[in-house]
Symmetry: D3
Subunit: 321 residues, 6 copies
């Protein structure tokens, strides 16, 4: 069933999303800060039992210099330069095991799947630790970690990691510097939009059922996790609501999407209670580059599933040449 | 939490499972009947956008001559003969889209994923109609289809399909006749055990969290679907309970496992309410060949997940040489 | 609570419901096809221990000539001709046991309760197999059976059965040919509307909380089963959505109601999540004959319950003279 | 699934159930007290539109002289004396509407369905006020009403009503004084067992899935309502637990069953979480007369449903001659 | 998430709420009736082990002369006259134990917490029997007790008790006659509004997330208990709906609020499914005196919790001087 | 209902709980490390509007020197030395607002309620930040933070804080150095047992429904949060199970209880699914000092509620003289 607006209303929905005056200055500071840490990208061949692809265990210095992990999967015996995708994963998951994500390399791409700091104890495993919570207690969950101050918010760190992953993958000899796309679903889809703004020259963006868009609307229309973490936090800290949403305004991917320019493919499920359609369309309508969206009328947060993977493959084949 | 016995009790649990006197005669009749239909296996190259593997759209004549679909995925430019796996899928799913299952071919195997007649409108799509559906698969409720008579039971048809899939894959020029394994999880794990008995010379078997084992115990210890379909049926048809379990005794994979001889790997989740551990161990203990089992103490029906895929890969690499 | 529109909005709600150009031609073909099978109605006295009524075990040839079962309950020692009701039952149920439905005969009517092919393993038992089930009904999942093609859709078969039941009951010597009404609740209410169109000269119609009306709206407003089967199907088969709704347009009882002319009584529960009020009113407003509706403000799918039975009795006493 | 012991264990389960020393004296006082109120049974013909049966609106003086309602349904034009059943209804329901319960009269019995004081705002309606309700029944919460003292406990009043109903029905000219049975399901099944002890010369008893048996065990094995009302009460009033169970020991139908002597039929569902099997068997094993029990292995609180009605009919036909 | 209107809509929401013509006459009769019973307020020192406050066990004659209990907590060694609060408690609870509510006395107020007749077997215990309970409170189901007639409705009795509690507390020598406020949350908040109308000269009112306001709207927008008791009742008694709402129109605190004149503080949770915001605002907008409301955007029925207690303390410090 | 063993079995249940060889050495290192940070306890008067008690805003240096907050509530104008309680709070909560916990001071005790680092965004608010996650990703929730290594585990930090709070409160002039007890419920009850071992000379211990006891058993018998966080973690990190339980063996309060010597009062709810009774009894039986336990047969995790508070008050009045 429809959990939000009808498709007609969604096409017409162009909300105002709060944006702080110093949004650009804030993110410039984040970029400057991380630039002070050497990238230190390493690619160590991983001993998998796979024949058609090769896997490297990746490490690079993310936000604050923290070592961030990933897997780079490439077609065996491929010739450089390869079109490349950097993938960000959904909430609770990590980079997983080396043999879990074979599609992009099987389709001829170099594929970096970036680990998510602190996460990776849910549906897929991770190996990257986050630093601390400096400044405010959080609920269980990541959305409110460091929420007292955008400079210490968990997702600030994660967005910086996401941008750095694009720099890191370019260090690999097989990667074509001009053909690096970013993609992901849910949290990964939100990160792809952040990277569309923050990373250096992304060639294309695929953002599926993105999370982290239009928080104010999200908490009004759904109680589902992880947006529900905000509700829980604000229901206890009744006196910190404005501060919370001020921090979130730096993270809101609607504001990042507005500053992006690479061609982008979105997807949305009209029955998705986790990332409600109106929040996805808020980001879609704001997006600054060429864009298209696939609408899955009967789907919840799984969105287009394997059908949409085929759409993504076609889109990136086209966008990356 | 533990949903069934402790691990200690499971190792000691060797229940008596009902087996009809004419079990072997019944299945010989099924084999004879299907043998009267030409196998008619075809392999049509499928237009995917994949570089490292090739996909063929497979059709062969299953039970009653019904055309059964599948995908054959092989490493691109591979040299015959290849070690081969035939995969059966879980309840509600179908063969999916051509790019969904890349692991086995990426690891150097020929890989046939068989469609499940009538299913494939759940978590993955299917394209094979069961008799009576005439042209399209339907949603759930398969366990009690044709339950009045083993000759007309849905799972009799499906087990015959499963055995025929092994014959069918051997028609492909890349497949090594002597190195064909069967595998699957949940319903697919039950079918792998049935195929271990009914198929021609399977070289190895991997049965993960198998369904369709020890029905009598299953309905006493869980209400979860799909075993719950039996409970629902018997709660209405109070006067047909014995007939139902008589039909099921021809299908119970404990009885099929007893007649198998290929080396086998099992897996089980101690917190699995869908295929409770004691039913899995009933099949494991009965299994007639060399066998091993991986126990996942904290997992529900997902069992070992990607970790167990690595175990399966190692096992089959070893078993198929 | 209200699960759909307010009563005011419902009275004003007159949606456009898709109707295929060949709707009438299609149903004419179904009628012609079934007419080629002899009706073969039989009435075998059933050995109940009841004193005031008599029960006959009914069989007649439904769609495709399939034998369809039913019970005919009549007042003991009644004089022909009797006013008569043909009852269709709700989703998942069957004709039940011979002593379960005593109201209509106790009120002086001849009463045929028609079994539902393939169903009858839920809240009441059944004895009629659908094609493909060969010998026994199965559990749920009927809405998407044969959905690829209206000619093979399950509900096409069921609607033909429903129309034939009216012919069948007229074969009984006690039945007054001119005074045969059709009735039912939920699925039975939808079938009553289909029979209002497809059966021969029904004298009156009672359709309570009807299912199978305005599918497009239903899936937007509820996830409850059985409409939820459509959502589940379309969420997997994302590429078949239009085909699904094309098939459903032949079945939609809004289109059947439009072609009916007998006087009709409807009922609706304003808190009904299974057959949402707006779908019921869509059928009500479209209905071609004299009509009335009882609105139960606080009721879910149980609608008016025993209170509405009294309404039905009064309505049919009046309508059948 | 099994919610309690296995069938084998149930057959062997003979628990000690607390019984107060003055149990018999207490109930003698209740009988004496009610005997001081004239029975005042009236039978007013009810204007239903039924042909084969007649319905009378019954009123008689129950506990404390409170007017208790009921329906008496009899075969039209029947000849006295008729075998007779007094039916008690399940928790939350009332006598319903006059046309709701037609089976027993259709089978040739006189049938009194007794209203339940204060109840009847749930699945069927009622018309009898408990003291304090002054004019209309209310919704649930009856198990702890007056729990501080057996003399004021709600179920003491109800059990006295149940016994009086047997006296009342005997006032009707069609009723055969020597052939009055008591029956009911759930709460009605518990009341039937109480009436088996407290009523005057019941000729037979049918107690289906009885409630109100072995409270101590019930609260340890289930949280389902209505036993859960006790748990809720004791979880608040931690200092009144012993007093609560002392009051309940006067009501426990195990103690009433022990004092009964008429032939009895029981039923039980092995998956019944509302009236767990071990509590039913506790009453069954204690029952003082000839007895039999039907076990429904796959059923929850619906027990044997219409199948068991057939069993009851056969049993009472036999027992009442 | 928002469960009802947006805040903007709530500020504009001024519904018409049914009010019977004899509303004032009815309540005058209630006041007259209770005035015929001597108040008989007693204050017995309670043996707690507290040092800073003193607790008295209070009894006074409520509706019909029924003894109603309470605790009076006062600062130890306080000098008269004290500002005073009379507190009513939420649904299902009672006055609790003597040491449970220490805030108001610790803040320098005399504090009477009134027991709720018949309740107090839920989250806190009670000691006051309603008529018919004879000796012990019972579990839930109060909204429909005596619903057939406002003169016998449970909440009529409770509102009279609430008004009498204000008279009772004034009998205590420490209490300042001119400075008695009434307060409570949920049911207690509704009672505070009733007392604002019915009690003698309340000096201030604090009504948090009040229950019992605008019943017609409540049952349309929520199924949550206790409003759900009405839905359940009306879904069975389909023929008594108008009578039910007529009785409720005497109780609706919107009608009581309209007649109040003391300064009042309200609170509301915008995510409260138990007492939906629009029903709270209906009472707020109708309130006849000076008023203010605290809106808790992210809270459910807990409302402002301890944060709002601080608001209440500030408000009453100010209002009572 | 019973969620674990019967009371009889609980009295006899004395499980072996894993304890690492260097348990004492590990905790000595923790004590030595924190001792290197000055305690720096400050008590700043807090501007509440309370008359009978005074509240100070407390800060002291906890694990790693992190500033830990608390409230110290004392009777107004009290004379030193006062008997004193240090209270630890339950999972998800913080020290709350200054006026939330008035019982102990009202009863004449000095009362320090310690904030819980990183928590306090749930049912009560907190103001203390935790440091980082150093060394391993966690699930949402605190139980798996730093689980890779006992030296970095979250609960190691928290237990050190708990012990330091006892030192801190002794800095206050009103506190009687020899009469400081520790207490808490759930997580706070586990912390009280840890403090019973780790703090300096606690005079008495009250541990209600303690969490953090016998983890191995807990995860086998419950899926409820927060123990469920372990299950979730281990279900993803299938290869880290032994490491997880090794870390937990340093935290298990069974091992801390074994080393305690002050008199202790425990409580347990036999229906508690959050901290199952067998885990509570494991700690109780192991406890090294004089001990007693109150058993609440019908209660879940709320345990004895206000009734048990009275028990605690009596126990501590007695134990602290």
């Amino acid at each position: 069933m429809l959990v939000d607006m009808s498709l007609e209303e969604l096409w017409a929905y162009r909300p105002t999303v709060a944006e702080p005056d110093d949004f650009d200055a804030f993110w410039q500071r984040q970029r400057d800060e991380v630039a002070s840490h050497p990238l230190a990208a390493t690619f160590v061949p991983s001993g998998t039992d796979l024949h058609t692809v090769e896997v490297a265990d990746v490490t690079f210095a993310g936000h604050g210099g923290t070592p961030v992990k990933g897997w780079l999967v490439t077609p065996r015996n491929a010739d450089a330069p390869l079109p490349t995708v950097v993938e960000y994963v959904g909430y609770g998951g990590g980079r997983g095991l080396a043999h879990e994500r074979l599609l992009w390399a099987s389709a001829g791409f170099a594929h970096l799947v970036m680990d998510t700091r602190g996460q990776g104890a849910g549906w897929s495993v991770g190996d990257t630790a986050d630093i601390g919570d400096t400044g405010a207690p959080a609920t269980s969950g990541f959305l409110t970690r460091g929420i007292a101050d955008p400079a210490h918010a968990y997702y600030t760190r994660l967005f910086v990691d996401a941008a750095r992953a694009v720099d890191a993958v370019r260090q690999h000899p097989l990667v074509d510097d001009e053909r690096v796309a970013v993609l992901g679903g849910s949290q990964g889809g939100g990160m792809a939009l952040a990277a569309a703004h923050l990373a250096s020259r992304p060639a294309a963006v695929s953002s599926s059922v993105p999370f982290l868009a239009h928080f104010r609307r999200a908490v009004q229309i759904t109680d589902a996790m992880p947006y529900g973490e905000l509700t829980r936090y604000c229901s206890a800290h009744r006196d910190r609501v404005e501060a919370v949403f001020r921090t979130l305004s730096y993270l809101d991917v609607v504001n990042h999407a507005r500053r992006a320019s690479a061609p982008a493919l979105f997807s949305v499920g009209l029955a998705d209670p986790v990332c409600p359609p109106s929040t996805v369309f808020a980001a879609y309508h704001a997006y600054g580059g060429l864009k298209d969206i696939r609408v899955y009328e009967f789907n919840e947060h799984e969105g287009g599933g394997a059908h949409h993977v085929a759409e993504e493959l076609a889109f990136l084949r086209d966008a990356l040449g």
